[in-house]
């Protein structure tokens, strides 16, 4: 059981660099910050500042060079590849800028996908998926393929896929980056509900100040450093 006030993400002196053609590019120099459980935080900053890199580290799809990185009390930096995969499946929901749905699967099947890694029966999966698609307003599009859906609809399917396993945190890398204002508004409204009604911790990278306003906290990343704003 998590204490509401305990940080769900604990980061201390985190560094990350990439090797590019023999040259080492330092992306995150010294990041220290906590994200309280149930927070909805927006990460902003110029292009190339390392927002996606930081998000990937928190989500456990990349490894830091040094520093502490705890999510839900677990030091994910030291997990093996296999354990990390299991950890992600249970704890993280992913929302990408370009939706990243499987083109050969229907909306229903895409949302069902993460549940295939659980012990749930087909009947249980079916109930959950239907409920999730109803919640994102796509109950009439279950059998549609991604190519038959608009960008906004595809992103809603992706959100359903992200929260279907009831993860601890949701990470969203520019979830409205590819959408028009109306669709973006719908997406943000769903994220807001997930945060307020289902108490999901959401970490969202965005360039859009409008989108950032939906979040309760905004952090700026610049030159590998984090600044607290307003």
């Amino acid at each position: 059981m998590e204490n509401f006030s305990a940080p769900i993400v604990h980061i201390k002196n985190l560094t990350k660099s990439y090797r590019r053609g023999g040259q080492i590019v330092s992306v995150l120099t010294d990041i220290t910050f906590d994200i309280p459980s149930g927070e909805f935080i927006a990460l902003m900053g110029p292009s190339g500042s390392g927002k996606s890199t930081l998000l990937n580290l928190i989500a456990g799809i990349d490894k830091p060079d040094s520093g502490t990185l705890k999510v839900g009390g677990i030091d994910i930096a030291i997990l093996s590849e296999g354990d990390l995969a299991d950890w992600r499946a249970a704890n993280v929901g992913f929302i990408f800028q370009f939706y990243n749905l499987m083109p050969v699967l229907t909306a229903f099947e895409n949302v069902e996908l993460p549940l295939l890694l659980t012990q749930l029966s087909y009947k249980e999966r079916r109930e959950r998926v239907e409920l999730a698609l109803i919640m994102v307003g796509l109950s009439d599009r279950m059998e549609h393929y991604p190519s038959e859906l608009s960008g906004g609809q595809q992103q809603r399917v992706a959100i359903a896929r992200a929260f279907i396993t009831d993860p601890v945190i949701l990470v969203a890398d520019e979830p409205t980056g590819d959408l028009d204002r109306t669709s973006a508004g719908e997406i943000l409204a769903i994220l807001d509900r997930l945060n307020s009604e289902m108490e999901k911790t959401i970490i969202m990278v965005t360039h859009d100040p409008h989108a950032a306003k939906t979040a309760h906290l905004i952090r700026y990343l610049e030159k590998g450093q984090l600044d607290v704003a307003d």
């Binding site: 990349d62 995969a85 499946a89 083109p103 699967l105 996908l113």
Partner: protein
């Protein structure tokens, strides 16, 4: 279930590409099967040979013959059940391209020794009493439409003149591998005609090509062979006796280089299709990098990703193999009809089918190794960055 569904739908994503790759596999598998069948046909004479039959020929070369009087002497050797003889005629039926083997034989004994050539008793008698009669194999009869009572003219190349024979019997093979593309007639007729037209040139009359000897037990083959050869040692025509199989393989070895070439080509065909298939799979895997990265982010492990690629590769290979194997039969039949009686026995063997299936399986696996490894290894962050 979902795994298979994903693989199947992925396979059908680029229908043209998948279709062309499957077509390539089909062609390769058919070619491989056909080439193997040709090689098999090459060896079929040896395969179809009997264990209880010896062949005695002139020790110098097959070109040289043996005196007819050897027949009775060999017959007396202990363990010899029956002995007959056959002489290559080498005639042409209408045109050079109509090749089939013709032998002048000892009509009374030949079909006792070669009991796998099955002739209705009445027809055999009809042949034996007609000096100008002949016996043709079923395959030969089918190809040229020979019926009992037909006259078949052969233009001699070794023995000049046009020789006319009347079909008195058609023989069937006891087994599928039995050669039924041969033509037999009376050696007596050949010999007596030669006696009349060639004045006393001794060596061309009363001589036969080879003797075929039926022995009681295969285990005594070596013993009886040396006994025969010892009997004619230091004579005018020394003999060489060996089992029918060794004798037949001797023929094959003369053309060994061609067989080896065909074998090599059959494997080269597989290598080419492997390259094509590997290219298809590499292309496919590269296009789906971001999808694989997404699946991994969701918690699917690298084995799942590798499985998707192996599965797709195997489906393409196995569908191609199945169609290819089924097509091998009609293609082999067509080929067999085109080449007529050049290959006495021409059939797709069970072993060839296994080999085709194994080859396709190997191609399917091998083509996926590198793409599967690469896709499974690439980091999620890198894979996701590749989006767009």
């Amino acid at each position: 279930m979902h795994f298979l569904k994903l693989i199947l739908r992925n396979t059908l994503r680029h229908k043209l590409r998948t279709g062309l790759t499957v077509l390539g596999i089909i062609v390769a598998i058919v070619a491989f099967g056909l080439l193997r069948t040709v090689v098999d046909a090459w060896y079929s004479g040896a395969e179809g040979s009997s264990e209880t039959r010896l062949v005695t020929r002139n020790a110098i070369s097959l070109v040289f013959h043996l005196p007819i009087k050897y027949q009775e002497r060999i017959r007396k050797i202990q363990g010899v059940m029956e002995i007959t003889h056959a002489s290559w005629f080498g005639g042409v039926y209408i045109s050079e391209k109509n090749f089939f083997p013709q032998f002048a034989i000892d009509a009374k004994t030949y079909f006792d020794v070669y009991s796998e050539y099955i002739i209705p008793p009445g027809d055999l008698t009809a042949f034996i009493i007609d000096r100008k009669g002949c016996v043709v194999g079923r395959k030969l009869a089918d190809v040229y439409g020979f019926k009992i009572g037909d006259t078949v003219p052969l233009r001699g190349t070794i023995y000049p003149g046009t020789w006319k024979f009347t079909v008195r019997a058609i023989y069937d093979g006891a087994e599928a591998k039995t050669d039924t593309s041969q033509f037999f007639f009376h050696w007596d007729y050949l010999n007596e005609t030669r006696k009349r037209v060639t004045a006393r040139t001794e060596r061309t009359t009363d001589w036969v090509g080879v003797y075929a000897i039926n022995i009681s037990e295969p285990s005594r083959a070596a013993e009886i062979s040396s006994e025969v050869d010892a009997m004619f040692g230091n004579s005018l025509a020394e003999t060489r006796t060996e089992t029918e199989k060794t004798f037949q393989l001797g023929f094959v070895s003369m053309t060994e280089a061609i067989v080896v070439a065909i074998r090599i080509v059959s494997y080269v065909v597989l290598l080419i299709i492997l390259a094509v298939m590997a290219n298809t799979m590499a292309m496919t895997a590269r296009e789906r990098t971001s999808e694989y990265a997404t699946l991994k982010a969701l918690g699917f492990n690298h084995r799942f990703i590798a499985g998707l690629i192996y599965g797709e590769s195997m489906i393409i290979a196995l569908v191609g193999a199945l169609i290819g194997i089924l097509l091998t039969f009609p293609v082999a039949n067509m080929f067999s009809e085109k080449v007529g009686t050049l290959f006495p026995v021409f059939g797709v063997s069970a072993e060839t089918i296994y080999m085709q299936a194994i080859a396709a399986l190997a191609v399917g696996i091998a083509a996926a190794v590198l793409p599967a490894f690469r896709s499974a290894q690439i980091s999620i962050a890198d894979g996701l960055r590749g989006i767009r």
